[in-house]
């Protein structure tokens, strides 16, 4: 016994030593350094990506880090790895390391000027990187937008399931309400369509009305959420899960039977207004507002209700209003993102808002981590990227992803990154020399 535990501890020590050796050169790199590295990487891919990919025997630039290409043709696996290393890992690491000192200096200067300007500049840089990366192919553009939308869905479900701890299954219902409401608004008013008839207003006006369509979608979803929120006053746990599941099916069958919006055939010809800038802006706005909310005392009341409703009540927290707010707020963002989704796919169909979507969104929340903004972002990005990258596996994809989910649930029952506070300003702060530590 003593021998095994001894070797265990040394191997663990060796692991942490190795990790320390890898991360050591990068502890001083601020967020700006990483972003600059990523910027160089995506520009490099634009310039020489195709030649490099061809030189390595790949038919095209690997769309999602070469996983797909390697799965289709395992012989190309080394090429994909080499490509990722040369285009992404090496430039990012080099630039991040080399610019660490000037980047720290620049961030310090910016913070001394105005901290909100610093935040905005970082977000702008992030957008430019995403834009250039997505510019390679339409497929990437679609994936990036869907991931951004998934972040909003995951976050909004995390508000209800993570922050408030109610197990709600009604999210696809809210998303459907938002998607249909926004679609009916835009298609009905601005598009000649054989289901909703002639356009009533000129399409040129529509672009400016798009935010109204999205907000309308959110509001309709929030109205739907009242139906789930009211039973939640007296019901918890499994019962609320069943009620919310019933709500999801109600919404689905409502749209299946509503012939004026296309019934089971769905509703198409949404105008192409949800480009990357629009989706990106709404996602940032959503993250910002939701993060503000969960960090305020009003939002922390969700945690208090989750961890002890009687105590929350005794401490002056209006538990009914809190639950109501959480459901309506979560549903609003789900619906708003649903509207974006409808305009990215440019087609909605009742069958997409079923149990499969529920499973995916729940997986993103629980995989990423409960009660955590970072967790939801990580969950949405990783589950979506995996889902897309493993597409060549076809049906086996649904063996790999759930298996991974099971492993995470066993090792970390509350998800990868759970119960954290998200502060973007801290994230982008210049890095100080670590004192005492390391």
């Amino acid at each position: 016994m003593a021998v095994t535990s001894g070797t265990m501890s040394t191997s663990r020590e060796r692991m942490s030593e190795l990790r320390a050796r890898i991360t050591k050169p990068f502890v001083m790199v601020p967020m700006l350094g990483w972003l600059l590295g990523a910027l160089v990487a995506v520009v490099l891919e634009q310039l020489i990506g195709l030649q490099l990919a061809r030189a390595f025997g790949m038919p095209r630039i690997p769309a999602l880090f070469g996983v797909g290409i390697a799965l289709e043709n395992p012989a190309l696996f080394p090429s994909a790895i080499l490509y990722d290393f040369l285009i992404y890992i090496l430039p990012v690491a080099l630039v991040a390391r080399l610019t660490a000192t000037p980047a720290n200096w620049a961030v310090t200067k910016m913070f001394n000027f105005r901290s909100w300007v610093t935040v905005l500049l970082h977000i702008l840089l992030l957008y430019i990187i995403l834009h250039i990366w997505a510019d390679i192919s339409d497929y990437r553009l679609l994936v990036v937008r869907l991931i951004l939308i998934a972040i909003l869905w995951t976050l909004s479900l995390n508000i209800i399931n993570g922050y408030m701890g109610e197990f709600s299954c009604s999210h696809p219902g809210f998303i459907a309400l938002g998607a249909y409401a926004a679609s009916i608004f835009t298609v009905g008013l601005f598009v000649n369509d054989n289901i909703l008839g002639q356009a009533l207003l000129p399409a040129s006006l529509g672009r400016f009305m798009f935010p109204i369509a999205l907000i309308l979608g959110g509001v309709i979803a929030a109205l739907g959420a009242i139906l789930v929120a009211v039973p939640s006053f007296n019901t918890r746990g499994d019962y609320l899960a069943i009620i919310s599941l019933a709500f999801m099916f109600m919404v689905k069958s409502l749209f299946e039977n509503l012939e004026v919006v296309g019934g089971a055939r769905g509703l198409g010809s949404q105008p192409d207004w949800a480009g990357l800038p629009t989706v990106f802006l709404w996602t940032i706005l959503g993250i910002w507002i939701m993060n503000n909310f969960v960090r305020s005392t009003l939002g922390k009341a969700l945690n208090a209700v989750r961890d002890g409703e009687t105590a929350a009540d005794a401490m002056t927290v209006n538990t009914r209003r809190t639950k109501f707010t959480a459901f309506l707020f979560g549903a609003f963002w789900a619906g708003l993102a649903g509207g974006l989704f409808a305009h990215v796919i440019r087609y909605v169909n009742p069958s997409s808002f079923g149990i499969q979507m529920l499973a995916e969104v729940l997986a993103m929340v629980y995989f990423g981590g409960l009660n955590s903004i970072q967790g939801s972002i990580v969950g949405a990005v990783s589950i979506n990227l995996m889902g897309e990258a493993l597409r060549p596996l076809e049906i086996y994809k649904w063996l790999v992803i759930p298996l991974l989910l099971i492993i995470v649930m066993i090792r970390r029952p509350t998800g990868l990154i759970s119960f954290t506070t998200f502060d973007f300003t801290t994230l982008i702060k210049p890095k100080q020399k670590p004192e005492g530590e390391v």
Partner: protein, 256 residues
């Protein structure tokens, strides 16, 4: 007129009469005690007054205003704070978050403020944080401010509950067995803290206790409850010597 007045309160759980014809008057700044054997209905009385249960019969008024029918959070925000016999802390929240949370009814920035992080939000949150830190200092848990409550020693957890209740700025503080499960050292500290809280903040206190020493030393007036009925009411020395109390509650033990 009394600060808190309870008249002829009776409560049934199904066919069981848990509380019978209970009366109480608490004056501002008074410290009163409620003792009685297990299952006498002490915590039920707390739950009835704080609105968790609705009494079958009777009247409850705080500063002349009726409390029956109000929801627990409304009663609490009118200045009636409580702690719980079995700790009811929020297990994922820090100590500071606990105390700030009890400022909920004092928040004016509303949802718009919470969503957009308005200057008003920052002003109020900072103000509430200052109040919370003062209260944590008062009960001696300031050094735990950013720790998750479940990591704290038991005695400190009890004090978190107390600080949280104080953040409501109560006119009356209900303490449900504040020294339950404490070792002699923690007990001594707790009594000291309760005394200090009372002298510094001056609210009325109504406490349930099992340990005679605590009630006898802290309270001006004591009620003894047996099977939902008050069998004796009076000053500590009167209660100590009341034969009915000794028989029903203290048994033949010598009171120290």
């Amino acid at each position: 007129m009394a600060l808190l007045q309870v008249d002829n309160m009776t409560h049934y759980f199904g066919g069981l009469r848990a509380v019978n014809n209970y009366n109480l008057e608490i004056e501002p700044g008074q410290v009163r005690g409620l003792i009685g054997p297990n299952g006498a209905g002490k915590t039920t009385i707390f739950n009835l007054i704080t609105g968790i249960y609705k009494p079958t019969e009777g009247e409850i008024t705080l500063e002349g205003k009726h409390l029956i029918g109000l929801r627990p959070h409304e009663i609490a925000s009118r200045g009636l704070a409580r702690t719980f016999q079995n700790l009811r802390l929020w297990r994922h929240m820090t100590v500071l978050e606990h105390v700030k949370q009890a400022r909920y009814s004092k928040i004016n920035y509303g949802l718009v403020g919470a969503f957009f992080g308005t200057p008003e939000l920052h002003r109020e949150e900072d103000e509430n944080e200052r109040i919370a830190r003062d209260l944590m200092k008062l009960v001696g848990i300031a050094r735990y401010a950013d720790q998750i409550v479940t990591n704290l020693p038991y005695g400190a957890q009890r004090r978190v509950e107390l600080a949280r209740a104080l953040a409501i700025e109560p006119k009356i503080l209900f303490l449900d067995e504040p020294t339950a499960g404490m070792n002699p050292e923690e007990l001594e500290q707790m009594m000291q803290i309760v005394r200090q809280v009372h002298t510094e903040l001056g609210m009325a206190i109504f406490l349930i206790e099992h340990r005679m020493r605590v009630v006898m030393e802290l309270c001006e007036m004591i009620q003894t409850l047996v099977f939902g009925e008050v069998i004796a009411e009076g000053r500590p020395e009167e209660i100590r010597n009341d034969p009915a109390v000794i028989e029903a509650y203290l048994g033949k033990e010598v009171v120290t």
